[in-house]
């Protein structure tokens, strides 16, 4: 499974544990880690930057996950990049808001790391391995 993964996560611990979960599930993909919402917004506003899957936290400094999502969906070349929310919140209002803003999936980060590893593996295998996108698999680019 190839493809570039973008992880938007402000907690260094969570980022490290997510990267480890990807490694242990056999993913050797390039992963770009962005530490706050503003970095993510800038990333998607720069022409030429793109990726194949976004794992997005909601509670982020500077700009929250909803703003990042809106930026992604606003950009015509990025509007179908799969975005899966990884959040601590299982609040209905957060879930509704995420889907309204164009999220493709919403997962509550489980506390149990066994379950988290399993979940990250399944998300990666589905979105990078099984899911088909409308045209070029890699979008954006120069």
């Amino acid at each position: 499974m190839d493809g570039i993964l973008l992880l938007v996560e402000d907690s260094p611990d969570d980022a490290e544990l997510t990267l480890r979960a990807l490694r242990r599930n056999g993913f050797s993909n390039a992963v770009r880690v962005l530490r706050d919402g503003e970095e993510a917004v800038d990333y998607f506003r720069s022409p030429g930057e793109s990726c194949d899957l976004v794992l997005l936290d909601i509670r982020l400094p500077k700009a929250d996950g909803f703003e990042v999502l809106a930026t992604i969906r606003d950009r015509s070349t990025a509007d179908y990049i799969p975005v899966v929310i990884l959040s601590t919140s299982a609040e209905r209002r957060d879930i509704l808001r995420a889907y309204a803003a164009g999220a493709n999936g919403y997962v509550q980060k489980p506390l149990d790391y066994d379950r988290f590893q399993d979940l990250v593996g399944r998300i990666g295998r589905f979105w990078l391995g099984s899911n088909l996108l409308p045209s070029r698999r890699r979008i954006g680019g120069t």
Partner: protein, 276 residues
């Protein structure tokens, strides 16, 4: 005494119960300016517990994750005692997570605007009882659920309340053989607009001297070793009762079982009707 339950007034029967509650709250606020201050403080407290619950969970994920990483990557170079310590770190993490989840569930209830409709409590009780029996198949756990128990309320919130009442009864009857838990609906002393759900068990009971502590969050009458728990269950029931304009109380005696009562707006002819 004037008959003033909302269902008896046709113009009010067209309004949702939450609108009626809102109206009452506005009326109280008009009578006493202190009410606004209290309401604002309550909202702030709920926002705080929402945020605290989420922010408290994050470090716990780190503790569990790195403990497991240690075990998976360096487990072979650790002896059995060291691995046992890691297991205990993870178990303590899970207990803490349980507390936070309960706290979060509690704060969520207060922030819920109830969607009021006629609800069959019998159906809810039967399903919950089956799930509880399945969870502990080795116990002789008997539920006696009355037929046709109808009230009006928010189905989701009522399910949460009854689940807590039944789990509570199942827990405190674990030394009773057989454990018998009876659930029925009885008339209310609060007037015709209310009915009372009664959950009666033959379990450990409690001393009536401590009845005030029963519904306070995190207050427990038993040690964790005796009956494990977080002390949030009955506090949750009380929140659900309050949201519905009802109340909850309990009577019991040590070793002689407990009875819990949840007063709710009645269904049927005398009850509040939701027309939408």
């Amino acid at each position: 005494m004037p008959d003033h339950h909302p269902g008896s007034r046709p113009e009010e029967s067209r309004r949702s119960w939450s609108d009626v509650l809102q109206g009452m709250q506005d009326e109280i606020a008009g009578l006493d300016p202190r009410y606004r201050v209290v309401a604002a403080a309550l909202r702030e407290l709920d926002a705080f517990s929402y945020s605290a619950s989420h922010d408290l969970r994050a470090p716990l994920r780190g503790i569990d994750g790195f403990s497991l990483a240690l075990l998976e990557e360096y487990g072979e170079s650790l002896d059995e005692t060291a691995r046992g310590y890691i297991d205990r770190i993870r178990a303590a993490t899970r207990r803490m997570a349980g507390l936070i989840d309960d706290l979060l569930a509690l704060s969520r209830i207060s922030r819920t605007r109830p969607v009021v409709e006629p609800v069959s409590l019998t159906g809810i009780c039967v399903n919950l009882a089956a799930a509880l029996r399945q969870r502990e198949p080795d116990r002789d756990l008997r539920f006696e659920v009355a037929e046709a128990m109808e009230v009006v309320g928010d189905r989701g919130l009522l399910t949460i309340a009854i689940q807590n009442l039944l789990e509570n009864a199942a827990k405190y009857t674990r030394h009773s053989e057989p454990a018998i838990i009876e659930i029925d609906l009885i008339p209310s002393e609060d007037g015709p607009g209310f009915q009372v759900l009664r959950v009666r068990d033959n379990g450990a009971g409690f001393d009536m001297r401590y009845q005030d502590q029963l519904f306070a969050p995190f207050r427990r009458l038993h040690s964790d070793a005796e009956f494990p728990g977080t002390g949030i269950g009955l506090a949750t029931v009380q929140r659900v009762a309050t949201v519905h304009g009802g109340r909850v109380w309990g009577i019991g005696a040590p070793g002689a079982g407990a009875e819990f009562f949840l007063a709710l707006p009645a269904g049927g002819r005398d009850g509040v009707r939701e027309s939408e």
